[in-house]
């Protein structure tokens, strides 16, 4: 098995992938899982959720409603399933058997494959996470041989990075949310902790509209409404170039947020970009705040 720290996005997953999702917030988990399961419906796969607690299927999948999915219909048709197997105390022991059986059953029911998303409570992970390690090891041949792809979810508020790193080594890598935009010059990704957008690369006359679109969509995210007014955060630490037209857009957005009592926060702005902002007279715009980059996520 390849033990590389590769990170892929959920929309690029393919059959055989067995990836680890370490999530910081419920929003992040739901974003990745929604893409995973809805892509499955589009691909002719059955979606199987193995949650860590015995909760009704409609409740466990209710977050999909926000994405336009009719959860009750999909459950009734069997295209989406929820199995409380991992809520049992010994659920981890035969997880590989469960997935093998479910994959075969999905094919037997006429699906092109199975998408499975698992999550366990920390208490079930075993002493030193041993049963978790053993279980993940046993899963590998299942993914190698059957038309199945899976995401193992780990709440990073519960599992720390020193625990996740060895677990990630038992997967084909890590998975994260899809990029909001990607072209030859620029990638825009959603950040979750803290919530916002990260811009990496170059923004110029060819892709400034993608930034505008992403900024606009950001206003609709729940976290953007704070007691201090609407707030949008842009992580610019990996931004190499931004032109005047794009900076003007940021200024315009900051003024719009400011008019609503809010703020546009720019983090990790490179000195040469700050200089351009100063020269253009954009260093003292109401609603525009510059902050240091903070720790690398």
């Amino acid at each position: 098995m390849a033990v590389s720290p590769t990170r892929t996005t959920v929309g690029r997953m393919r059959q055989g992938d067995h990836l680890l999702l370490g999530y910081d917030t419920d929003e992040e988990r739901e974003t990745v899982l929604a893409a995973f399961l809805l892509d499955g419906l589009a691909c002719g796969h059955r979606g199987l959720l193995l949650p860590p607690a015995d909760i009704p299927a409609g409740v466990a999948l209710s977050f999909l409603e926000a994405y336009g999915c009719r959860v009750d219909e999909e459950l009734a048709a069997g295209r989406l399933c929820v199995d409380a197997h991992l809520a049992q105390p010994e659920g981890l022991w035969d997880l590989d058997e469960v997935i093998r059986r479910e994959a075969r059953r999905a094919v037997g029911d006429g699906y092109l494959g199975l998408r499975v998303a698992t999550e366990v409570l920390r208490a079930q992970a075993g002493r030193g996470l041993k049963s978790l390690h053993d279980s993940e090891l046993l899963l590998d041949p299942v993914f190698a041989s059957l038309p199945v792809l899976g995401i193992c979810q780990y709440d990073r508020r519960v599992f720390d990075e020193s625990e996740l790193a060895p677990l990630a080594g038992l997967h084909h890598g890590r998975v994260g949310a899809d990029q909001v935009w990607h072209d030859d010059l620029l990638s825009i990704t959603r950040t979750f902790a803290p919530p916002g957008l990260a811009l990496a690369g170059e923004v110029d006359d060819t892709n400034v509209t993608a930034v505008a679109r992403a900024l606009h969509a950001e206003r609709a995210r729940p976290h953007s409404r704070t007691p201090d007014g609407p707030r949008t955060r842009l992580d610019l630490r990996d931004l190499l170039f931004i032109d005047v037209g794009a900076l003007r857009l940021l200024v315009f957005s900051a003024l719009a947020l400011s008019a609503a009592g809010g703020t546009l926060v720019l983090c990790g702005v490179a000195p040469h970009v700050q200089r351009v902002m100063r020269v253009a007279g954009w260093d003292r715009v109401p609603g525009l705040r510059l902050e240091p980059a903070g720790p690398t996520p």
């Binding site: 030859d184 010059l185 170059e202 110029d204 006359d205 060819t206 170039f241 032109d243 005047v244 037209g245 900076l247 003007r248 200024v251 003024l255 040469h272 351009v276 020269v279 253009a280 007279g281 954009w282 003292r284 715009v285």
Partner: protein, 312 residues
């Protein structure tokens, strides 16, 4: 003496006594009136002026002219920033002695243009700029031209040869270097090709040994000029990269949009409003570049960006 509205005077002095005679009362009156007083003068004149002002010199901000007068557009930006810092309602008095020694003919002409542009840039301000010209040291042409770029002379008399800034601007354009020397790298400008221009400009600047910060400035300035070609210049043009002994030269030319939309006066010389929908690009180009020449024309424009070569 007290005045309202913008005042721009040339003080032509032939001795230390004449310099102090023209500047000490100017500074003292300003301090008495609550004005901010900034003295940007030749280094040798700083101790002279300090001594003559005595205790009051502590209230005057002194800057050595060589540090302040590096490139005309940046000096203009610096004055704007200084005046902004002192608030919109407080008058700033400046004793501003430009540096003429060691300038090429091209550079001298651009500094003359700068002196004339001050009349436009600060026209609506309450500030008062007094520019000493040392007649013992300066070429006759520089001293004579001071009378054309300053509405008032020495003791407040009106200059009879003062030139309208727009006319003087055109006159300076006529003196701009017409040709740039040497073979050039050519990069065509295309709708989706601004990144390719940035790559080529950056590679050229690095080959020429430009420091990283100045490389970024050249890339940014070239990019904004290319964006202007795409927006205002008909979208077809070429970037040429070459150099002479003193400068790297990035020339951006276009085939013109052939529209009758009005061209801006003094393009890029006047600071844009932060909330304006345009006008920041060319201002930034001038602030980032050592010298810019431009011929904007609906039938085809040429902008040249001059970046001084790093000292060997």
């Amino acid at each position: 003496m007290s005045r309202t509205g913008f005042v721009h005077q040339a003080l032509r002095y032939g001795s230390d006594v004449e310099l102090l005679g023209g500047t000490v009362d100017f500074a003292t009156d300003g301090l008495a009136a609550g004005d901010a007083v900034l003295a940007v003068v030749a280094a040798r004149n700083i101790p002279l002026l300090r001594e003559a002002l005595g205790d009051r010199s502590r209230q005057v901000e002194f800057v050595a002219a060589d540090d302040w007068y590096d490139y005309p557009s940046r000096t203009l930006g610096r004055y704007h920033a200084y005046c902004d810092r002192h608030g919109p309602n407080r008058r700033v008095r400046v004793i501003g002695e430009p540096v003429w020694a060691g300038r090429s003919g091209f550079e001298t002409r651009e500094w003359m243009r700068y002196e004339s542009l001050l009349n436009v840039a600060f026209a609506d301000s309450p500030h008062w700029i007094l520019c000493p010209y040392d007649t013992r040291r300066l070429p006759a042409l520089v001293v004579e031209t001071a009378a054309r770029t300053h509405p008032e002379l020495d003791d407040g008399s009106i200059s009879s040869v003062y030139a309208d800034p727009a006319h003087f601007y055109a006159e300076c354009d006529a003196h701009c270097p017409d040709q740039v020397p040497g073979a050039a790298d050519r990069i065509p400008i295309t709708r989706d090709g601004s990144a390719a221009v940035r790559r080529a400009v950056a590679a050229y600047a690095r080959r020429a040994g430009l420091p990283e910060q100045r490389t970024y400035d050249l890339v940014a300035a070239a990019h904004e000029t290319v964006v202007n070609v795409l927006r205002h210049g008909g979208g077809r043009g070429v970037v040429r990269l070459h150099g002479d002994q003193d400068h790297l030269i990035c020339e951006i030319s276009d085939e013109g949009a052939h529209t009758s939309s009005p061209l801006p006066d003094f393009p890029g010389h006047l600071p844009p409003e932060p909330r304006a929908p345009n006008g920041h690009g060319l201002w930034l180009v001038r602030q980032l570049t050592d010298l810019v020449t431009e011929r904007l024309d609906p039938a085809g424009s040429v902008v040249r960006l001059y970046f001084r070569r790093p000292a060997a």
